[in-house]
Symmetry: C2
Subunit: 266 residues, 2 copies
DNA sequence: CATTATTGTCTCATTTTGTTACAATAATAC
DNA sequence: GTATTATTGTAACAAAATGAGACAATAATG
């Protein structure tokens, strides 16, 4: 049995059977990353949360940075493990570095619950600073893998989160705040919706992020006025009313708009 | 002679005379901070830049984080050393973690130029991730101390920076971008001006940050309409025209506005 | 074919911003 | 004193953006 995926599937494990562990010397010390992975199911904004088996401890998916890899790439790597998706929209938003933020007790419980409370993992009980990222993914394309190493991962609506360990709650709050601040600037909707979507869907994304209702007519006029949407065929939903048009984001003349787009983010 | 203030006055130096050095074990490894310290001289936006003696290497003031201190406090500590000011407006904006961002060659030159190329400092040649902060200070209240340990520190206008080492240029660019994005939200002007200022001064701060001219009447009407300014006595400048009023930021009913204020930042 | 809910768009009121104009005023020059 | 000067505060109007409501078009349903 290999070490539980505390933070990631470790593809550079020490390979001797039953001796696999995170080798301290492979990673930057006292530094981790955590990711707040947002998805939108059509109604609610949700976040991927890990649960460590036999501990009732919930946490954000995170990991460590290898000595020979870029910080950004470490996070992308972790995200690919978790969601199977590459080229995800990803943005760093804060680094949390209070000296009291780590919780050696909880970490110990996790290690023990997975029978990995060996000397080689003691470094994980030390203080950690963590660089936090948020990711925006298309909910429908993702199958969060109930992790092979004894922990589970699930979607939780942002207003129904379980109690999170350490300062992960604070991290989520700050992620959400940043998302709100960036809503217009970074065309957030683009990364939470399928390629083609109705105006109503787009409005629902905005409402879910802002946490407030928007006026339909003003919203529609404003978004169309921004000249970033392309109109496509109608969508016949089989329901008794006028069929809405489908739209997509126009990727051409985005001179002004910050190019923080999945496609350009590769 | 003590170790040059590579990044800060080290107040926890190993105390044996002529053996003083940054002890590796006192600090979080592979992690530093850098600060982009903005000041406004009435016309231009400026930044504090260090020059390492005998190297012609220019850099942002930075430092290391002690194992037993908060990240934020490490930065405040460094800032106090540099400017003599406490309770500075300070904001973290990004963590830079490319694996290639460190420059061991340059670091070696700095250490050698100060005769500190000893074994105990070899860890400084390793890879470093850096958490970047920007600070806003009242230019007039600050005497950047030409550092006792052989390096100098000076104000440079943001559009006349010397060539900076490593990725410090990129760090400055990002700091400026963040400052622009936060201009309205965080009442930046408050921290770059004296307590009382004229409308013209305030406008000049805005213009220096945005890098563009603003319409006087619109600016004045908008700022007054925000209801955050308090009007005081007139300022007689001894010049042949109508005397402007002095204003200050109103610190009372700032419910809406994010409380990112020097005074509250203590 | 009438009913129904939803969508796209129009209109008008309200608010915000751009632009111009102008009176008030401190010093200076005479 | 008094005219001159540059700057400031504010008013006035135009243009643009947003709020609020109305309404016709239209897919399904019964």
């Amino acid at each position: 049995m290999r070490f539980c995926s505390l933070f990631e599937k470790n593809t550079s494990l020490n390979t001797k059977k039953s001796e696999a562990y995170f080798r301290r010397e492979d990673y930057i010390e006292n530094l981790s990353y955590d990711s707040v992975i947002f998805g939108f199911n059509g109604k609610q904004l949700k976040i991927l949360i890990l649960e460590y088996h036999n501990t009732s401890l919930f946490a954000l998916p995170g990991g460590f940075v290898r000595r020979n890899e870029n910080l950004d790439e470490a996070v992308k790597r972790g995200l690919k493990e978790r969601t199977g998706l590459q080229h995800i929209y990803l943005e760093q938003f804060h680094t949390f570095g209070s000296k009291g933020r780590s919780d050696p007790q909880a970490m110990k419980r996790i290690l023990e619950a997975n029978r990995h409370n060996r000397r080689e993992h003691e470094w994980m009980l030390d203080r950690f600073l963590t660089v936090a990222y948020y990711a925006l993914i298309n909910y429908d394309e993702v199958n969060p893998q109930p992790d092979e190493f004894s922990d589970s991962i699930n979607w939780y609506p942002i207003d129904e989160l379980p109690p999170l360990m350490m300062d992960h709650r604070e991290i989520v709050e700050k992620a959400l705040q940043t998302l709100r601040d960036n809503l217009e600037k970074k065309l957030v909707g683009m990364n939470l919706l399928p390629a083609k979507f109705t105006m109503k869907q787009l409005q629902q994304v905005y409402e879910a992020i802002l946490g407030e209702k928007l006026r339909r007519t003003s919203f529609q006029r404003r978004l169309l006025g921004m000249d970033i949407l392309e109109r496509h065929e109608k969508l016949y939903q089989g329901r008794a009313h006028k069929a809405p048009y489908l739209y997509s984001f126009r990727l051409n003349d985005m001179n002004d708009i910050e190019q923080s787009i999945t496609l350009l983010n590769k």
